[in-house]
């Protein structure tokens, strides 16, 4: 037993959730894992300190995705199974308060990304600092990605925080599209946090604690949960049963990322190495789709349902020739605009449609691109107008956010924006 190591952990006031789990196993049923039991358990951490990193699970539940880096995590990070995306409207009015909030959120995010529980409260008459539901859970590749909407820089013409002149080049509300059915509150937002993890409870815990720490400074405008799952090494499928994200550049292809994802030249420094997030909540009429013939379904996408191969080809990743498929098929139209985006979509379900009794479900479409004006918007426009898929879908939410570059240790999110 090395007392020193122990002390360090206690001084930091944090302890890995995975360590906690192991301690609880050793200590037996008598040890409480909640915040109140933290101190008692903490003294045993060293026993397991060296083993925690070598343990791994098939889904990468134990894996930590580094929070700090040149780019924010959660963009080219291989897609985790669960997501919560929350958009906040700030209720504060000064730059100083915004910085305080961002500092608080950054610290919280950095700590949660490693699977660490927050410091316990000084006494038990106070509410626990951490909400607790993730304490005995692994880091689960948790990522938290922060972004700023157009209203963050200027709301109704008012430069609330004196940062209007540092607004990124291409940030704008997504213009109204034909057949839009946008429904408040799923439109816009000052700040977005995209939380992804391999464990839904870990993901929810993260977004919940951001919400909690924002009370009095920001209000949650909308929140959307999602899931996506695919066999290892295979492109996951959406709720229409088709592969989603086939055209994405490989997560390791940094050249392609520079070409299509990362904002660089001409952007303010805080944005260089950042990206733009496009968000669309797309309702999918599952029941209608399920009654459509396979031919109609495949004609709609321009791809084969089972293999994901584009029309005229045999394999999923064979190059698309739009001319082999119906002109208004989803793939042909998306390709026609020529510029790739990086998709990171999740499926969602929202209970039952009160009116029709159909399942409320769809796609939380998220894409990242370095210039939405040339990559995303032209594509969306063409698709909104002519996509065969529109027969089975309805766009009900819309937002765009600028994602600042990655965070260096000691910095807070978007720090360069405020200096």
């Amino acid at each position: 037993m090395t007392e020193n190591k122990n002390k360090n952990k206690e001084e930091q006031g944090t302890v890995s959730r995975r360590d906690m789990l192991k301690m609880s196993l050793v200590a037996g049923a008598g040890v409480a894992i909640g915040a109140s039991g933290l101190g008692a358990v903490a003294s045993m951490t060293n026993v397991f300190a060296d083993t925690s990193k070598t343990t791994s699970s098939a889904e990468g539940e134990d894996e930590i995705v580094p929070f700090y880096g040149a780019h924010q995590a959660g963009i080219i990070t291989p897609q985790q199974t669960y997501a919560y995306v929350g958009a906040f409207d700030l209720t504060i009015s000064t730059k100083k308060e915004v910085i305080e909030l961002l500092k608080k959120w950054t610290a919280l995010a950095a700590s949660m990304s490693t699977g660490k529980a927050a410091t316990r409260a000084p006494n038990d008459l106070l509410p626990p600092v951490d909400t607790g539901e993730a304490e005995d859970l692994p880091p689960a590749r948790l990522t938290m990605t922060f972004g700023f909407g157009p209203t963050f820089f200027s709301k109704k013409g008012v430069d609330r925080f004196g940062i209007k002149n540092k607004a990124p080049k291409h940030l704008q509300d997504i213009p109204a599209m034909p057949k839009d059915h946008l429904q408040e509150p799923f439109v816009g937002g000052d700040v977005v946090i995209q939380v992804c993890a391999e464990d839904q409870q870990v993901a929810f815990h993260a977004i919940r604690n951001f919400i909690r720490t924002s009370v009095g400074k920001a209000e949650l405008k909308w929140m959307q949960s999602g899931f996506i799952s695919g066999a290892p090494g295979k492109t996951p499928r959406n709720l229409f049963g088709f592969k989603d994200g086939t055209a994405n550049a490989s997560p390791k292809d940094s050249k392609a990322h520079d070409a299509s994802i990362w904002a660089l030249d001409g952007e303010p420094s805080w944005m260089q190495g950042g990206s733009y997030m496009a968000f669309r909540k797309i309702k999918m009429f599952l029941e209608i789709w399920d009654r459509s013939s396979l031919k109609d379904q495949e004609d709609t996408f321009g791809r084969k349902k089972d293999s994901g191969a584009p029309y005229g080809k045999l394999k999923e990743h064979d190059p698309v020739n739009s001319f082999d498929m119906p002109a208004t098929s989803h793939t042909a139209l998306a390709k026609s605009t020529g510029k790739p985006i990086y998709r990171r979509a999740y499926s969602y379900t929202d209970g039952v449609d009160e009116k029709t009794g159909y399942v409320n479900a769809g796609l939380m479409f998220i894409s990242y691109q370095k210039n939405p004006s040339t990559q995303f918007l032209p594509m969306l426009k063409v698709l909104a107008k002519s996509d065969k898929l529109n027969e089975y879908t309805q766009h009900i939410g819309s937002a765009m956010f600028a994602i600042p570059r990655g965070i260096k240790k000691g910095e807070y999110v978007g720090q360069a924006l405020f200096q």
């Binding site: 009429f285 001319f323 208004t328 009116k355 009794g357």
Partner: protein, 383 residues
């Protein structure tokens, strides 16, 4: 001569997408084109040849090379002409399914100015048909005189509807032009009925559907058609400036009539259309999104169901042979739906959509769902 069936070609060249499928017109004189081998192997080889040519055509299509595309189109047609008797005898339904894409494709490629996206759509569909043909089991798809009869009967129904639509639209637009609000309001619903019964066919005919039936935010450019006048009648309460819209509507409906008269239908298309009608009902009618201002959504809903039922009646003889239980089930579901809708009809007028309770809407939606589920199995008749 590469041209086959002058009559068919004439029709096709009028840029109608579908082609006579079950009509045997002009086929007899080609009986002399016979083939030594009729084994399925030889057919596979023939389909392979067609696929090769199609592939080549698609690559020239990509380059937008009109000359080469046109040559490939000719070659495709020539190959088809020499193979088709062999194929038609054994696989009548797959034969028609191939021909309905191949002929218009060929026809389009002979034009001076080729509509590229049309060729693209047709070649994608043809590619699928050829795949199906290649993988077909002999006699797997047996066509029947009953199916042919079904299409004929349904086509008559469509003609009746579109004829009546012209008249009813005229009554409506006359009232609009004379600025008679009450008459226009009454005539509005009466005209909508005919359109809603045959909507999928109208939708397949290019940009006429948006011109006639677009809702406010459906189109980017100028908004015309029924719903524009609907807004004037029920929301703006004035018909000022509506005369040009009314005139345009008359013209668009006439164009629709002309196009529909020439359209050739096939069993697969009409069955898909019947399903589409129920989808329309479920997506925009039962949700009250179609008739935003007049609130006559139940009129449209009923018409969609009636249009779908017309297909059901047309294919009933075949369906009864193939799957008696499904035929019976559909009969029950259609009756239930009709009864349910009848509850909301008083003195010839349907209840205002916004006066329906939540529970009433849900009940309609549920019945529609049940009916649609059964209807989606109708394609069994092609097995």
């Amino acid at each position: 001569m590469n041209f086959k069936k002058p009559l068919t070609y004439a029709l096709v060249s009028l840029s109608i997408v579908s082609v006579p499928l079950l009509s045997a017109c002009g086929k007899e004189e080609k009986k002399e084109v016979t083939h030594s081998s009729s084994s399925s192997n030889s057919m596979k080889a023939q389909v392979n040849e067609l696929q090769k040519t199609l592939k080549q055509l698609q690559s020239n299509l990509e380059k937008k090379d009109a000359k080469l595309t046109s040559e490939d189109g000719k070659k495709l047609n020539k190959q088809w002409l020499s193979y088709e008797n062999n194929i038609r005898e054994k696989y009548p339904l797959l034969y028609t399914d191939t021909e309905k894409y191949l002929l218009p494709l060929y026809s389009e490629t002979t034009k001076d100015s080729i509509a590229w996206s049309k060729v693209q759509d047709l070649s994608a569909s043809l590619s699928r048909s050829l795949d199906n043909l290649k993988n077909a089991k002999e006699n797997a798809h047996q066509t029947s005189t009953e199916l042919k009869e079904a299409v004929k009967n349904y086509k008559e129904y469509v003609n009746e509807q579109v004829n009546a639509f012209i008249g009813a639209t005229k009554t409506f637009t006359d009232a609009v032009r004379s600025a008679n609000m009450d008459q226009a309001k009454e005539a509005y619903g009466k005209a909508r009925v005919f359109y809603e019964r045959i909507e999928p066919i109208a939708e397949s005919l290019g940009d006429l559907d948006p011109k006639i039936d677009a809702r406010e935010n459906d189109v980017e450019g100028k908004w015309t058609g029924f719903h524009r006048i609907e807004k004037a009648l029920w929301k703006e309460h004035t018909l000022k400036g509506m005369t040009p819209i009314a005139n345009q509507l008359d013209q668009d409906v006439k164009d629709l009539h002309a196009k529909i008269k020439k359209v050739k239908l096939d069993p697969a298309t009409i069955v898909a259309g019947s399903q589409e009608l129920l989808n329309e009902a479920a997506l925009t009618k039962v949700t009250g999104e179609e008739e935003r201002y007049s609130r006559i959504d139940l009129v449209d809903l009923t018409s969609n169901v009636e249009g779908s039922q017309a297909v059901y009646h047309a294919v009933l003889p075949v369906l009864t042979t193939k799957n008696k239980d499904l035929a019976k089930q559909l009969d029950t579901e259609f009756n239930k739906m009709t009864e349910l809708l009848a509850k909301y009809k008083k003195q010839g007028a349907f209840k205002d959509y916004k006066k329906l309770s939540k529970e009433e809407v849900r009940e309609l939606s549920n019945q529609l769902k049940t009916l649609s589920e059964s209807m989606s199995q109708t394609a069994e008749i092609f097995q």
